[in-house]
């Protein structure tokens, strides 16, 4: 038997104290190697949330619309008519850095399994991607591989990829972020959970065979990168989207009946974590026989089988006697089906292999006794506010606009989303490129608006405000399409939790998110934490990506950002302060990252958002766009480019410097258009509602002008906006 040396323990990412807890959990005996492996993955940061758990409790996770909050494979919300939306976002950062195609592909595959394991058919995918500087030697290759991998998997599955974000920043040079979100649709009265039940029920393995893929993937995902990370390469998993498509159809077919007691995908830490979660949640034990596990390679050890992260696999507990019925379905779809164990009343996970018991561990300890760390943290010092007077104006305002719309973060991401099938399933009523994507609920007139958002530079400067802003921006994006924001999922990407400043960022972001979710009634129903995103001590920008879902009750009232008709009137909703701290203008044009991010007034977000949504539902406006990066001027340009029509933008009466009025990133704002005859009514209604609103110009012509001057042709803006990414990728 393998001796438990300090080196072996450290290699498994366990501290000496954690090891002592394992011995204690085993009633005083040392674990064998297999057991050590199982404990190490279950107690890894990725599976146990040991550094984040104390903070995640602070999040706002409830609401009348919530059927299932955090704690299951995915969150679930009610959209009426016995329909439920099941969604979650998850990171696949480290695997994607090592092998961008397969890392991203298996990230997409994994998140889809989380959704269909609950009985939902995936109806849309989104992704939030962050890469290093465009000039960094690895960036182009990573962008290309990640985008192809996401497309390769989602396209083959026949699930439209409808939205996402792509940003570039030097802090991601050695740690890209690949966050994949999946949204599924289920019948509210036919949802499946992971909790196993009963004693003597068959435990069933379905899907692809087990190979030596990604062993230690879960611990790798929690390990900081160093210069030898290339050494970890053979742990890469390869995805088989065709197998997953079969698995999806077979699972949904079986789920139409009542044979399943519990079902859980095998994700990180594979067979181990799915067994532990199912048994623990159901308060039962599992006896597994590894000889029954379908294997791809000869001579696999119990350690390898238990920790393998081979993709496209699921574990189920069936009602006794229903095996044949289930087997017939999986065989029809040409998938493996094996009874690998039985539920017991021991409360233990007992694993046998070739007639011997190779592991025998208490489930409760595996699932719950990982140490919970209250890591030391220091709040991020509040940045000094930056007045407009401290920010030089550009010489050429219109030229600056042209630069901004072609900046890497702002340039059109068409090159990306054209590689995703964003129309399959025939319900994409608003394609990528707008504020939120909108997917019709099949066979109905309802639409789901979805968006992924966060502004990491705000989070770095002020994590609390950045956390609030991420939720608020997601809320606005959904609102701008006419959606009632319902709930969110998150993907919290941070550096090492062992550093107090990073824990301070995390704590701050959670605080800001929690407040915003509460005030906006936009709870978090699922999510994921990815720590240790740093290389050689350089952490990424704190990046709590937020994925939101909203409901458009009647898609005939769906709104888009494109300017429509000559003569329409522009109206700006929201207050103007010309806030330039941490703005895109500051970063892209002046190369500075100072000041406080714009304050987020949550009450104003709610009031202004509700006002705009009502206008949309009443059919009173023709276009709506939320204001974020680049402020009013960039927003107007985006609306003009989308509609291929110009506008004359008017600044307000107050005496803000022009560049602050145009590029300031004040929050809670929307730019909308209405037919000229309807504008007055809107202003009157706004006044009555206490919503700041003013006329902001007129639509028409082929140029964007400001107060009648500074002309720039919409076509030239479009050219710059559309060309940056394809040109960069071709370079």
């Amino acid at each position: 038997m393998t001796e438990m040396t300090p080196e072996l323990i450290a290699e498994h990412g366990l501290t000496p104290e954690e090891y002592d807890r394992i011995v204690e959990a085993l009633g005083g005996r040392a674990p064998n190697l297999t057991e050590l492996g199982v404990f190490s993955v279950m107690w890894s940061e990725h599976c146990s949330y040991k550094s984040s758990r104390v903070w995640l409790k602070e999040l706002h996770t409830t609401g009348a619309q919530v059927i299932q909050g955090p704690g299951e494979n995915a969150g679930i919300i009610d959209i009426g008519d016995n329909q439920a939306v099941v969604f979650k976002m998850e990171s696949h950062n480290h695997p994607s850095f090592i092998e961008p195609y397969q890392g991203a592909a298996t990230g997409v595959g994994g998140i889809m399994r989380d959704v269909f394991t609950m009985g939902a058919r995936p109806i849309a995918n989104l992704n939030a991607l962050r890469f290093g500087e465009p000039d960094h030697e690895k960036t182009r290759h990573l962008v290309s591989g990640v985008v192809e991998g996401i497309g390769g998997y989602g396209n083959c599955m026949g699930v439209p990829t409808v939205g996402g974000e792509v940003n570039f920043d030097a802090s991601y040079n050695g740690n890209i972020l690949v966050n994949a979100m999946c949204v599924g649709l289920a019948e509210a009265d036919n949802i499946f959970y992971a909790a196993a039940g009963g004693v003597g029920n068959p435990v069933i393995y379905v899907g692809s065979r087990t190979g030596r893929d990604g062993i230690h993937g879960a611990t790798m995902a929690s390990a900081e990168f160093d210069d030898d990370s290339d050494e970890k390469r053979p742990t890469v998993q390869v995805g088989d989207p065709f197998a997953e498509k079969l698995l999806l159809e077979a699972c949904l077919e079986l789920m139409a009946g009542d044979a399943i007691i519990a079902i859980q995908d095998m994700g990180a830490a594979g067979l181990t974590s799915s067994s532990v979660e199912m048994a623990d949640k159901g308060g039962v034990g599992f006896a597994l026989d590894l000889d029954k596990v379908p294997q791809r390679e000869a001579n696999m050890t119990p350690y390898e089988m238990l920790l393998s992260e081979s993709q496209e696999r699921m574990l189920m507990v069936l009602k006794p006697g229903r095996e044949d019925e289930a087997r017939a379905i999986f065989e029809k779809w040409e998938l493996n089906f094996a009874v690998v164990g039985v539920t017991t009343d021991t409360g233990r996970l007992v694993v046998s292999h070739q007639g011997e018991i190779v592991a025998d561990m208490p489930l409760h300890a595996l699932a719950h006794d990982a140490p919970i760390y209250e890591r030391p943290w220091v709040p991020t010092p509040p940045p000094a506010a930056l007045g407009a007077a401290d920010v030089p104006a550009p010489d050429d305002i219109a030229g600056t606009l042209a630069q901004l719309v072609a900046a890497p973060d702002m340039a059109s991401k068409r090159w990306v989303w054209e590689q995703y099938d964003h129309m399959v399933m025939g319900d994409t009523v608003q394609r990528p490129g707008g504020d939120a994507a909108v997917v019709r609920v099949h066979g109905t007139g309802k639409g789901l608006a979805m968006s992924v958002d966060v502004t990491p530079r705000y989070c770095k400067a002020d994590p609390v405000m950045g956390g609030r802003q991420a939720i608020a921006e997601c809320y606005r994006n959904i609102t701008a399409t006419g959606g009632q924001p319902l709930a969110t999922t998150d993907c919290m990407n941070f550096g090492s939790p062992e550093r107090p400043e990073i824990m301070g960022q995390f704590a701050g972001a959670v605080e800001g998110m929690a407040e915003a979710c509460r005030v906006l009634d936009f709870p978090i129903v699922s999510g994921n934490v990815s720590f240790y995103n740093e290389t050689k001590g350089e952490p990424i920008l704190p990046t709590p990506a937020i994925g939101g879902v909203g409901l458009i009750p009647d898609i005939r009232h769906m709104m888009t950002a494109a300017l429509k008709d000559e003569g329409d009137v522009l109206i700006l909703i929201g207050e103007e302060h010309g806030h330039l701290g941490q703005s895109l203008y500051l970063r892209e044009i002046l190369g500075r990252a100072d000041g406080a991010p714009p304050p987020v007034d949550l009450a104003a977000e709610k009031l202004n958002g509700g006002f705009v949504r009502a206008l949309i539902w009443e059919g009173k406006i023709n276009a709506a766009h939320d204001l974020s990066d680049g402020g009013l001027y960039v927003a107007a340009a985006e609306m003009a480019m989308a509609g291929n029509i110009g506008a004359d933008l008017k600044t307000g009466e107050d005496d803000l410097p022009l560049h602050a009025a145009l590029f300031g990133e004040d929050q809670a704002r929307y730019l909308i258009t209405a037919p000229s005859g309807g504008a007055l009514d809107i202003l009157v209604a706004a006044k009555k509602a206490g919503v700041p609103a003013r006329l902001a110009g007129t639509v028409g012509g082929g140029e964007l002008t400001v107060n009648g001057g500074l002309p720039i042709s919409v076509q030239s803006l479009r050219n710059k906006h559309e060309h940056w990414l394809p040109d960069y990728m071709a370079g």
Partner: protein, 229 residues
């Protein structure tokens, strides 16, 4: 009209075509599993888009060898109209019902976007509701749509008017700029020699509903219903 849609394990536009046919037909098409030996009596057989077998080996190659395809080939031989869209076109090529090959897109990427198409032949059951030379907008979504054929085949296709659709710009010009995937002669869809089998890379079923941004695909289904009822 009775229509059958063949469902391969990795088909994923089967529901989309089902919806489009239902709208134009006013009744449900029959969904036929690839493992079946026979297609039920039909006035139209449709091979939908998707990744029939993961598109492994060559797109459409494994599907072309599935049990049902023997019967599809036989029925096509008897003159039953067959429409293959995207992966369905690839299957038709691999099964020998249409000539040539569909290679990897010249740009190497999967491409999903609206493209302009010029309708070249309106004398078929598929295209009767279009005007000759009409410019329509239909989406593509594929990785392997780069149509290739040897010179002799190409000459025959062109000479016999068997190019049904060509990629074009908004003016109808079929130049290189309007070619999304490198297809020879901007070919987007071709017919067999009897005009009863059509394979096309673009997806007419994706723009047959105003909520999806257009209806240029709908005349194909309306035309089929009129011609085959």
């Amino acid at each position: 009209m009775k229509a059958s849609v063949i469902v391969f394990p990795g088909s994923n536009c089967d529901r989309d075509i089902q919806v489009a046919l239902r709208h134009s037909m006013g009744e449900e098409p029959q969904m036929v599993w690839h493992g079946d030996a026979e297609v039920p009596r039909s006035d139209l057989i449709v091979l939908p888009g998707g990744f029939s077998y993961g598109d492994y080996l060559r797109s459409g190659a494994i599907a072309a060898n599935s049990p049902i395809m023997r019967d599809v080939v036989a029925k096509a031989g008897q003159g039953v109209p067959v429409l293959g869209i995207c992966n369905g076109f690839q299957v038709l090529i691999e099964s020998g019902l249409l000539p040539g090959a569909l290679l990897r897109n010249a740009g190497m990427h999967f491409l999903c976007r609206d493209v302009g198409l010029r309708v070249e032949n309106t004398g078929t059951v598929f295209t009767g509701h279009y005007e000759k030379g009409q410019i329509v907008t239909i989406p593509i979504a594929h990785h392997d749509g780069n149509y290739f054929a040897d010179d002799a085949t190409l000459e025959r296709l062109e000479g016999e008017g068997r190019v049904a659709f060509r990629y074009c710009d908004s003016e109808g010009a079929a130049g290189e700029d309007a070619n999304p995937n490198g297809s020879l002669n901007n070919i987007a869809g071709i017919l067999n020699d009897g005009g009863s089998v059509l394979g096309m890379m673009p997806h007419p079923e994706r723009l047959a509903d105003p909520f999806l941004g257009g209806t240029d695909g709908k005349p194909m289904f309306d035309g089929l219903v009129e011609a085959l009822s």
